[in-house]
């Protein structure tokens, strides 16, 4: 039995409850802890989606580093003990909630129509091909995967083809159904650290380098904001 729907509902509900709790708690410390719960629940959802590496990073970076920073600042400013955040006036709150509901409706509408004429729908159409031998489309897809993950055809033939068909077959000999399973297997592995790493350092090398600059900017920015020496200002 497929456990995904149950787990989805469990993690999804937990994430939502945590999110609502973030804006519901008066004490910032509690809000922060509720946010951590949401982040953990999301990590669970990532695992459900096969994104193992991302899930791990989610826990380490978000729940670990970022939230600790939040908590640290809340403690530093001593906001945890006093209730500085009085609730807003009822009307403003109500208006905000109404806006939120409208916005949520629009969001859900978009989600419900996610497969209307989109790439997602196209992928579904293409993978629905059945019967006969491996199609040109599937070969193209395999070639793309091969290039993306920097695999060789030999590796696929020896490592992955046996998982879906007789051991002596090569990619060209597969039937369409077998090929589909092969592609799904390969795609299912994309969350692995090795695969992500390969993509990160080949196709996305530039953005990766840019993130280093962003972190540098953050570092220097924080130094500029908190550096000890208090200079005489112009204005």
């Amino acid at each position: 039995m497929n456990a995904e729907p149950i787990l989805f509902i469990a993690f999804g509900a937990l994430a939502l409850i945590g999110a609502v709790a973030v804006i519901g708690f008066k004490n910032p410390v509690y809000s922060a802890i509720a946010l951590i719960v949401t982040f953990f629940a999301q990590a669970g959802l990532f695992i459900l989606l096969g994104a193992h590496f991302v899930a791990a990073v989610q826990v380490i970076v978000y729940a670990g580093a970022i939230m600790v920073l939040f908590l640290f600042v809340i403690m530093l400013l001593n906001l945890g003990s006093v209730d500085v955040d009085r609730p807003k006036a009822g009307i403003a709150k109500g208006a905000a909630v109404i806006l939120g509901i409208v916005f949520a409706l629009e969001g859900v509408y978009i989600a419900v129509n996610a497969s209307k004429g989109t790439a997602v729908a196209r992928v579904k159409r293409e993978s629905a091909v059945g019967g006969g031998s491996i199609s040109a489309m599937q070969l193209k897809e395999l070639n793309k995967i091969q290039a993306t993950y920097q695999l060789t055809r030999d590796e696929i033939d020896t490592e992955y083809v046996p998982k879906v068909a007789a051991a002596d077959k090569t990619v060209e000999d597969l039937t369409a159904d077998e090929a589909r399973t092969l592609i799904q297997t390969l795609q299912g592995e994309m969350g692995k650290t090795e695969r992500i790493g390969t993509v990160l350092f080949s196709k996305f090398l530039l953005p990766f380098e840019v993130t280093s600059l962003i972190l540098l900017a953050a570092l220097i920015g924080v130094i500029a904001l908190v550096k000890r020496e208090e200079p005489k200002e112009v204005s």
Binding site: E106, Y109, I110, N113, A114, K116, G117, T118, A119, V120, R122, V123, A147, T148, Q150, V199, F201, S202, K203, F204, L205, L206, P207, V210, T211, L213, I214, L216, A217, A218, I220, G221, V222, I223, A224, L225, K227, E229, E230, P231, K232, E233, V234, S235
Partner: protein, 480 residues
Amino acid sequence: MTVPVINWHMLMPELVIVLTFVIVMVFDLFKSIRKSILAWVTIIGSAIALWASVEMLHAGVNGSQFNGMLAVDRFSMFFKIIFLVSTILVSLISINYLDRGDKRQGEYYVLILLATLGMMLMASGNELIVVFLGLELMSLSLYVLAGYFRSVQVSSEAGMKYLLLGAFASGFFLYGIALIYGGAGTTSIPEIASVLEDGEKSPLMLAGMFLLIVGFGFKVALVPFHQWAPDVYEGAPTTIAAFISAGPKAAGFAAFLRIFTSALESLQPEWIVVIVILAALTMTVGNVIATAQSNIKRMLAYSSVAHAGYVLVALAAANKDGISSAMLYLLVYCVMNIGAFAAVILATTEDGENLKISDYAGLGFRKPLLALFLSIMLVSLAGFPPTAGFVGKFYVFRSAVDAGHIWLVVIAAINTAISAFYYLRVVVVMYMQEPDEELEYHAYPGLLVFTLLLATIGVVLIGVLPSYFLGPAQISTQFF
């Protein structure tokens, strides 16, 4: 997909900027080096990068780097020129503006350079995620720079407002990218274009497209996403206000133009409606509120909102003429607006900056040079010939008329008239009113005068020889 082969020549401007900020950081370590040296390193580095960009524009580069992530073409080079010009001008005015004893100048210039690098990535980005990262690199640096005078209450406030609103807007921007990713199956701009050619219009795509407008609209300050601008301009250091109004605005438009006229070209009938509405709203609201301002920095902020509306008029034209006139307009706007802010800095007295428009009374006789500079910039902002502002507006309106947006141009023309009212009011105050109190003015700082002279030459030169600047912009749009 292999590890990309990098042609370092094509990355010249970016590499020079990276090298420059490394040098600035190293120099900053030595206590014996005067802080103004850092500014000069920044200026020289930017000038070399500018030279490289101009050369590459001339040579007609057209390629891509990093597996197609980065488009190295004339379009991006033209915008890099705009960014580098604004970086140089802002660094020049910063030397006199920052206090000599300010120990944090290293960080200041490094952040300016990082912001410039972010803008360059936005202009070159051929992949939505690169645009997003460039935008974040730029924005993060600017948040800090806006709050740079941490001992000044309003500066911190400006930083915080910019940060909260900016982060909020990038949330939408990111969600928009996600939706487009789902709708098109890719985030590469050329691939989106080819996917969309035969695709039907999905809600996912339309919503994603609009959320991109929100993200860019925030960065270039379109109504109703503009409200951060006046507060941030007023609170931020004046040099940074000048910077935010010039480079980042151009960067926002660079990515805006590339994505909407290239990737989302086939959705043009869908987005053009919203662009037209936003353009009309932005011009009108910006100009109308500007008339009611008494603080010159706020007035310039609202005027900058209005000018974003004019550029949007060119985008609404959605053809090559429109794109090239938008590019020319941004170049013009960058020069004249930094000039106007530089003149505001020049009006500093012992009591600090004089930001009330009434403080400018009688300046025409007391500080004739300053009044002259400021008048030239304001006249250009108002769009009178033979200044650059006129030719900029002229080409923008022309392209919109050609594209059939007569009503939009009528609204733009009415707005130009309204804007003349508040720009010229300052000129009138300077030349025809007596000051309430005598202000003790400093002697002119040479570098500010020099910068203003550069800006004036730029404004007049573009006004008199527009074709030398429009030509490259027109060639740059060939690839679309």
